[in-house]
């Protein structure tokens, strides 16, 4: 009850918040999200400048240095082929982040467009798209990804395709719901009254107003893609050796779990940190950008 009656301060001072103000609010209100943003930024920088940051080449084998404990020379020790674990984790960030970003972008693009059409046109279009989405959501996504991977074989590109196919449905639902409410807005009516074409209304008037929710959704979808990749790699149908995917590293360290536990723990912790950071950031962004999504 109180939320509705609570006066809107930004309306009162005659200025809405700009993106900069929203950033400031985020930092002030949610320190955890701000810290997460910082961590993500550092990881991205490390991934981009991996050859500079990493102490060793991640593929360079050295059989004399096999399975070394963590030391000053190798901060996280070495693996069974004598490769530096820290360097592999830094290079592995490249794969994990790409897996996190690319399929998420593709699946969200598909979901956004389908959601827009479903919401805007309604009727049969809406029915067809949304029932398809329901089926997608009802099907275990990892199983579906596995089916795709088994039929098409392993490898990064196929992971992209598999993950893109399974994740669009949730985006489509949210975009559809927003489109339904946005298309009743007066500015859409105004566009209609001057004879603006339907597709222009859809992409110029409705889509940009879904943007805040999409950004939030994007940050929240990334960790699930990263986790799916790790699971697929763990099952042996994801990234293939010798690439330094975190999931693959964790599974290869499995053999040495009791003698050299850092081989599995280090990549797992890396996954955990990235996933947590994206989740915290997503939650924080949601509070600042998108009160609508919060209610759902």
């Amino acid at each position: 009850m109180k939320d509705k009656n609570e006066p809107n301060i930004s309306a009162q001072i005659g200025e809405a918040d700009t993106w900069l103000d929203k950033g400031k609010t985020l930092i002030r209100q949610n320190k955890l999200a701000a810290l997460s943003a910082l961590i993500i930024l550092l990881i991205i920088l490390a991934a981009v400048f991996a050859p500079v940051v990493a102490p060793y080449d991640h593929l360079q084998q050295s059989l004399t240095d096999r399975l070394k404990d963590p030391s000053a020379a190798h901060l996280l020790g070495t693996d069974e082929l004598g490769r530096d674990v820290l360097s592999r984790i830094i290079f592995g960030a490249r794969i994990s982040l790409t897996i996190g970003l690319v399929p998420t972008l593709i699946s969200m693009a598909i979901g956004t467009i389908l959601g827009l059409f479903a919401g805007f046109y309604g009727g049969k279009t809406d029915f067809a798209i949304m029932r398809l989405a329901d089926v997608m959501l009802a099907f275990p996504s990892l199983l579906l990804a596995m089916v795709v991977m088994y039929t098409m074989g392993g490898g990064l590109i196929n992971i992209f395709i598999a993950l893109s196919l399974v994740n669009w449905a949730s985006t489509a639902r949210i975009v559809r719901a927003q489109t339904l409410s946005l298309k009743e807005k007066e500015f859409v009516e105004a566009a209609k009254s001057v004879g603006v074409k339907k597709h222009v209304i859809m992409f110029r008037h409705i889509l940009p107003n879904c943007l805040p929710s999409l950004i939030v959704l994007f940050t929240l979808n990334i960790p699930s893609a990263i986790l799916s990749e790790a699971s697929l790699s763990f099952l042996g149908i994801g990234a293939q050796p010798p690439s330094a995917s975190w999931g693959l590293m964790a599974v290869r360290g499995k053999k040495y779990l009791f003698s050299e536990p850092w081989l599995s723990i280090a990549p797992s912790v890396a996954i955990m940190i990235v996933v947590l950071a994206f989740n915290f950031l997503g939650d924080g962004l949601r509070d600042v950008l998108d009160p609508y999504l919060k209610e759902q």
């Binding site: 009850m1 109180k2 509705k4 009656n5 609570e6 006066p7 301060i9 930004s10 309306a11 009162q12 001072i13 005659g14 200025e15 918040d17 103000d21 400031k24 609010t25 002030r28």
Partner: protein, 344 residues
């Protein structure tokens, strides 16, 4: 008029009548990312028993914020930073939430512009009002139900027995507002704050609700603080009026005085710019400019940038609230000869 006499007069006004609610020099500020917003900036409002006090002003003038501060509903980033609120002799400015909850609904209550948001959609309205009674009074459920039906009858809800079991969405806006008023009146509070109670209603319904409020005030002796932007509503039922602008009281006077001898350029402009039913004009009077941004208020009088009578000093010095007649205060240098009413 003689200054001393005036002072004596106003003192008498303060001393003789026991005030139910006395807001003194209240300051509520909002600490936003862009800076401090002085939403309420030194507002003093006196509410004697059994009177209807109007607070008028445009959006952002701080009228709702004043009410929120009194009800203890101000939340982050808003904060009361100064002044005091005295409810029947008791200081409630920084009272603990638990005690405040006891006072709210019992001694002071509030109704809002949109009654639908204040009613729980999943319970029948009768139950909700009954809960409000049971919360504050120790009586049996059956008794409470009868009380609710009496109240419904008193606020003019047709077929109260049947309506007891209606859900909020089954009622029209006017009926919902009647339920809210009934709920606010269950414990016969000393003060009821009504924040734009008729703004969302149609004129014929508005007139009914205003008449109801006037009746409750007269019969039950409840004082009402009526917050509105509509000068017509003020003229209709208020006894005393505060005109607010940018967080400050610009003019305060008894209703008749305000409409006949309004002195502040803002009040004058506001009254002149309303289209009248009994006049035919080709152009309306306008106050130039826009409602000011509270983050960047002018250094002097907050109205100076829009004022047609502004002089040089208005831009650099802040005027006080000067007394110009009995119970009549104006915040404008033109009336400087009067006694300062600020901070008293």
């Amino acid at each position: 008029m003689n200054e001393q006499l005036l002072q004596a007069n106003s003192n008498a006004h303060e001393a003789n009548t026991e005030l139910v609610l006395d807001i003194r020099n209240l300051k509520s500020h909002f600490f936003t990312a862009k800076g401090v917003v002085p939403a309420v900036d030194g507002v003093s409002i006196q509410v004697p028993p059994g009177k209807i006090i109007g607070i008028v002003g445009e959006s952002g003038c701080g009228k709702s914020m004043t009410a929120m501060s009194v009800m203890g509903l101000l939340r982050y980033p808003g904060k009361i930073v100064g002044g005091s609120i005295i409810l029947s002799g008791k200081e409630i400015t920084h009272i603990r939430p638990k005690e405040l909850a006891k006072i709210r609904g019992n001694e002071i209550s509030m109704i809002f512009q949109e009654p639908m948001t204040s009613l729980n959609p999943v319970y029948p309205i009768g139950h909700q009002v009954r809960e409000a009674i049971l919360l504050h009074q120790k009586i049996s459920k059956e008794e409470a139900k009868n009380r609710v039906i009496d109240i419904f009858r008193a606020v003019g809800i047709p077929e109260p027995q049947k309506r007891y079991y209606s859900f909020p969405h089954q009622l029209s806006g006017g009926l919902r507002q009647r339920v809210m008023i009934g709920m606010a009146m269950v414990c016969r509070p000393k003060v009821m704050i009504a924040d734009e109670p008729t703004t969302a209603l149609d004129v014929t319904i508005e007139a009914q609700i205003l008449r109801l409020m006037k009746k409750l005030c007269e019969e039950q002796g409840t004082s009402i603080i009526l917050i509105t932007h509509n000068m017509g509503v003020v003229a209709e039922i208020c006894d005393y009026v505060y005109v607010m602008y940018a967080g400050k009281v610009m003019e305060q006077a008894e209703t008749f005085t305000l409409f006949e001898k309004n002195s502040h350029p803002y009040t004058q402009g506001l009254l002149k710019s309303i289209p009248k039913l009994d006049e035919k004009t080709d152009r309306l009077y306008t106050i130039d400019g826009v409602v000011p941004n509270l983050l960047h208020l002018p250094e002097g009088c907050s109205f100076c940038t829009r004022c047609s009578q502004a002089q040089k000093r208005c831009f650099s010095e802040k005027p006080y609230l000067y007394e110009t007649g009995q119970n009549h205060g104006v915040r404008c240098f033109q009336y400087e000869s009067g006694v300062h009413l600020d901070g008293k």
